[in-house]
């Protein structure tokens, strides 16, 4: 166990910053290079680093199978849900400008509504991509005893 102590100590200190960076990349998708996919992959990579440093059973305790399955579907649900909300607001599917009718001054809020709609979509994509990366890694790298 002694040879793992460097990896474990460094990972323990570094993983929170990696996850924070992933959230930064998702949130600044409209100002700098980035967006949903890149942030989701970086978040998945941080969980994979945890599993590589501490072992697979310890990693499974942090993210159970049920949680990763639920998170995979939640992201797509958020994406399609925002599209359907635009339908309820009177526009076309995924027309974010129509979400402005629920604000106090609809004629000035179109810009802002589009901004918020795209934020919601990027968050949904980020959640799905992170969960899928974690799921694929756990499934391909586990079960050594077969």
């Amino acid at each position: 166990m002694k040879e793992h102590i460097v990896i474990r100590t460094v990972s323990r200190g570094l993983i929170p910053f990696i996850q924070l960076f992933a959230l930064y990349v998702v949130a600044h998708g409209d100002l700098s290079p980035g967006g949903g996919f890149q942030g989701g992959v970086i978040f998945g990579a941080s969980v994979i680093l945890y599993v590589l440093a501490f072992g697979m059973p310890e990693g499974r305790k942090r993210i159970s199978e049920k949680m990763s399955d639920i998170l995979t579907s939640t992201g797509v649900l958020i994406f399609a849900g925002i599209g359907v909300m635009c339908l309820f607001a009177g526009g076309a599917f995924l027309e974010y400008n129509a979400l402005a009718i629920w604000s106090d001054h609809p004629e000035y809020a179109k810009h802002h509504a589009s901004h918020l709609g795209i934020y919601g979509i990027e968050i949904g994509v980020g959640i799905t991509v992170a969960a899928v990366m974690i799921t694929i890694f756990f499934e391909t790298a586990g079960h050594y005893d077969d």
């Binding site: 998945g44 990579a45 994979i48 810009h111 990027e122 694929i136 890694f137 391909t140 790298a141």
Partner: protein, 178 residues
């Protein structure tokens, strides 16, 4: 000059990744290939794509291949009496050369590299560049096109990666014994 050097690195990495017998070394050469590809895309000012390739190609693809290699064999079989220039390999090489010739013939009509009046730059991409910020409120034009103008394609892409996750679960997860 530096672009030529990077392209030369790319060709060398690709040739090494398909010729080495030890599959772990091939995976690492594939990771190096993805990294140099990301640098080439930075030189072509494609920053979003370079970001994605550096994280997905050099990171995720590499680790998935190493995980798959740990559950199968690490070395490629030498072959009983396979030689480099037997009939099958020569035929395949001829097919590849013919395809290469056809594709190069197809690029004869293309506009030059970096041409400002090429058809790719003057039809719908011009509208995306000029009116992107006022219609979608995104300064990053790639996000404006991805989530604003072509949001339906992004929904399809998210569904594709979701389906890949489901497929891997169905193929590899063991059912619990009741």
């Amino acid at each position: 000059m530096i672009d030529l050097l990077l392209l030369f690195f790319l060709v060398v990495c690709a040739l090494a990744a398909i010729s080495i017998k030890d599959l772990l070394s091939c995976t690492i050469m594939l990771g190096a290939y993805s990294l140099v590809m990301a640098v080439v895309w930075m030189r072509l000012n494609a920053v979003d794509v370079a970001f994605t390739e550096a994280s997905v190609g050099a990171g995720m693809s590499g680790i998935l291949m190493i995980a798959a290699l740990s559950r199968t064999k690490r070395g490629e079989a030498g072959g009983k009496n396979k030689r480099m220039f037997d009939f099958r390999n020569t035929l395949i090489f001829l097919v590849v050369v013919v395809t290469c010739g056809i594709l190069i013939y197809g690029t004869m009509d293309m506009p030059d590299f970096g041409d400002k009046d090429a058809p790719a730059q003057t039809h719908v991409a011009k509208r995306y560049v000029e009116k992107g910020y006022e219609e979608t409120a995104e300064r990053n034009m790639v996000s404006a096109v991805l989530a604003g103008y072509r949001g339906y394609d992004t929904l399809g892409e998210t569904t594709v990666i979701f389906t890949a996750g489901i497929a891997v679960i169905l193929l590899l997860r063991r059912r619990k014994r009741r």
